[in-house]
């Protein structure tokens, strides 16, 4: 059934009607025609009337005409061919002629049969052409409507977008000038169209040069300022079939706001840099101004103690010691505060260089041993064998970290020892560890210990070690150098501070790390 339908669909002009219905229509028409002509034919054989014969011949043509017109050339051919056996059958049944070739036995019938096929095919072909013309016309009407609509949309868009759409012919004469930007530029399209852009902008060599480049076939991208507005202009050459430049099509986009925004960003950045520079200078000056009088206090106290200004009693010398101690304590506080301020201002500069960890540990041990001995605490330092002889980093800052940790450890250790250790926890890192046998740090204090201005309970006034900025600075410095600090401690069991540094630091020499 499906194959029959497919056959019908191919052979019949089945565009507007299902193939099956067409087939039924054709067969129905032919059957009706056959029956009518058979009845007329039977009458003809008995009455031999001229009118009936004429009617029968007309009827033989009618279905072919109708079918060919309705269903096209192929259907016309089928009907023409099918008419031959039908005619043969009718002629045999009416007794007009005998044999399968009955329609060919008289010249009139033979001509009629061939004519039938020709009429079917020609008429069908005409019908096909007519339908095709009608279809194409319809398509064209629809396409034109769609085109008009899209053109209208485009025109609306162009008219409302802050752009200028333009085209020039191969001599630079304006052939198109549209878009919302045209009015912004103060241009009148009706005055510009037909005039040469080269003449209009003759007093602007930059524009003339760009137009000439565009006319030479180059794609150009440039900026133009007019009426306090900035336009970015992109042009493309239009080439003819031979590849010659037949004109230029271009678009100018108003980038004024974008440009203003960029300028604002640059201005803001400059202001930020200036403010950062100012902070940096201020810090340097504050540091200088604070340290200078401290230097005078400490210096003169030492000179008095040395007897440079005459003999000093033991009691006076003790008081001078107190002055020196307090001044040095004040110096420590000032340094901590300035370091904290620098860290907060993001102005702490790191100086990347190779250094010897063994030398550093020894320097710190020598520097801090007096403090340790004063409390009767042992201070030891060791560098593991697998640590490279030189490491990369800011030696001064790393030493500051170590001094802070050791100072802190000594402060909270009443007896036993403080140990410094440099080792490699893994292939990518080296670690600085300071462990003590001191009071330890309770769990509840661990989280806060690295925050600024925090000290353990009991250390209520700023001690020699500072405001409690020490560990905060340590952790901030470590972070700045790509390091990480960890703390293991239990109350009464001592503390272990470990700072892990990358073997290959990400920061580089003299670079500011914000």
């Amino acid at each position: 059934m499906n194959r029959l339908r497919a056959f019908a669909a191919y052979w019949l002009n089945s565009e507007n009607m299902p193939a099956g219905r067409q087939l039924v229509t054709i067969v129905g028409l032919l059957s009706a025609d056959f029956l009518l002509r058979l009845l007329l034919g039977l009458r003809v054989s008995t009455t031999t009337g001229g009118v009936a014969t004429t009617l029968a011949r007309f009827l033989a043509v009618l279905p072919a005409v109708v079918i060919a017109w309705l269903f096209g050339a192929r259907a016309g051919l089928i009907v023409g061919i099918l008419s031959f056996p039908l005619n043969s059958l009718i002629l045999n049944l009416t007794g007009e002629a005998t044999g399968w070739d009955a329609p060919l036995q008289t010249p009139a019938n033979a001509v009629g049969s061939v004519m039938l096929i020709l009429i079917g095919v020609l008429l069908g072909r005409m019908s096909d052409l007519e339908k095709r013309a009608r279809r194409e016309l319809q398509q064209r009407i629809e396409a034109e409507a769609a085109l008009r609509q899209s053109q209208a949309q485009l025109e609306t868009v162009v008219a409302n977008t802050p752009i200028v759409l333009f085209s020039l012919d191969n001599e630079g004469v304006f052939t198109l000038l549209e878009g919302n930007g045209v009015a912004r530029l103060g241009l009148q399209p009706e005055q510009m169209i037909g005039r040469s852009a080269l003449a209009v902008y003759a007093d602007n060599p930059e524009i003339v040069m760009q137009i000439n480049r565009a006319l030479a076939g180059e794609q150009t991208l440039w900026m133009m300022e007019a009426n306090d507005l900035t336009f970015e202009i992109l042009t493309n050459p239009v080439l003819d079939e031979d590849g010659r430049v037949s004109g230029v099509i271009g678009v100018a986009v108003d980038i004024t706001e974008q440009k203003l925004a960029e300028q604002a960003i640059v201005k803001a950045r400059d202001a930020a840099l200036e403010s950062s520079e100012f902070k940096s200078k201020l810090l340097a000056n504050v540091s200088h101004e604070l340290h200078t009088p401290l230097g005078a206090i400490i210096g003169y106290a030492e000179m008095l103690q040395e007897g440079i200004y005459g003999p000093v009693s033991e009691e006076q010398s003790d008081k001078l010691d107190a002055i020196i101690d307090s001044s040095e304590q004040l110096t420590g506080l000032v340094r901590e505060l300035l370091d904290q301020a620098r860290l907060e201002a993001g102005r702490l500069q790191l100086n990347f260089a190779p250094f010897s960890p063994a030398e550093m540990v020894e320097t710190v041990r020598r520097q801090m041993i007096v403090l340790a001995q004063a409390k009767g605490v042992a201070l030891t330092g060791e560098v593991a064998a697998d640590v490279p002889v030189t490491l990369q980093g800011d030696a001064r800052r790393i030493q500051q970290v170590l001094i802070n940790l050791v100072g802190n450890a000594i402060k909270f250790t009443e007896e036993g020892s403080v140990r410094m250790k440099v080792y490699r926890p893994d292939m990518e890192h080296w670690a600085l560890q300071v462990s003590d046998t001191g009071a330890g740090i309770p769990d509840e204090a661990k989280a806060a210990i690295f925050e600024p201005f925090r000290q353990l309970e009991g250390a209520t006034r700023p001690s020699r070690a500072g405001f409690g900025l020490g560990l905060s600075i340590v952790s901030q410095l470590a972070a700045l150098m790509g390091g990480q600090i960890s703390l293991e401690s239990e109350s009464g069991q001592g503390s272990v501070f470990t700072v892990y540094f990358p073997l290959e630091p990400a920061y580089k020499g003299n670079g500011q790390v914000a």
């Binding site: 340097a284 000056n285 540091s287 200088h288 604070l290 340290h291 200078t292 009088p293 401290l294 230097g295 005078a296 206090i297 400490i298 210096g299 003169y300 030492e302 000179m303 040395e306 440079i308 001044s327 110096t331 620098r342 702490l348 500069q349 100086n351 001064r396 003299n510």
Partner: protein, 130 residues
């Protein structure tokens, strides 16, 4: 008797000027005290001290510029420079050029003891030259 080696102290604070010069006198130096950067450059153009104690922050010409002048002048080759600064970051930048960098405040005793240790070798230098 060999003449005392000359120490130039370039420092704008009067008290520190006084303390530094006393420390260097105690260490056995003849001292020349200058409180202004421009004046220091003028003096350095005609004088060759053995030791310069140099403050980094000075009026008119900075200590850093004076240090560069010393290090690029042929007649000042070998002059020992002790840089005094309250700004550790600037000090780090100039560390390679100075013989010694002090964080301010500088201890009188520290300065005296250090310059005293430097002196004998300088004295020999002078002897060999004269």
């Amino acid at each position: 008797m060999a003449t005392k080696p000359l120490a130039m102290i370039i420092e704008d604070d009067d008290s520190l000027m006084d303390i530094f010069s006393r420390a260097l006198e105690e260490a056995g130096y003849e001292t020349m005290v200058i409180g202004d950067g421009r004046e220091a450059l003028e003096q350095l153009a005609v004088t060759r001290p053995q030791v310069v104690v140099l403050d980094l922050q000075l009026p008119s010409v900075s200590g850093g510029d004076i240090l560069r002048f010393i290090r690029t002048s042929e007649h000042l080759k070998g002059v020992r420079v002790l840089l005094a600064t309250a700004n550790s970051q600037w000090a780090d930048m100039l560390r390679g050029q100075a013989d010694w960098v002090f964080d301010k405040p500088i201890s009188f005793r520290q300065l005296r003891d250090l310059t005293a240790r430097l002196r004998p070798s300088l004295g020999e230098d002078d002897d060999s030259k004269t």
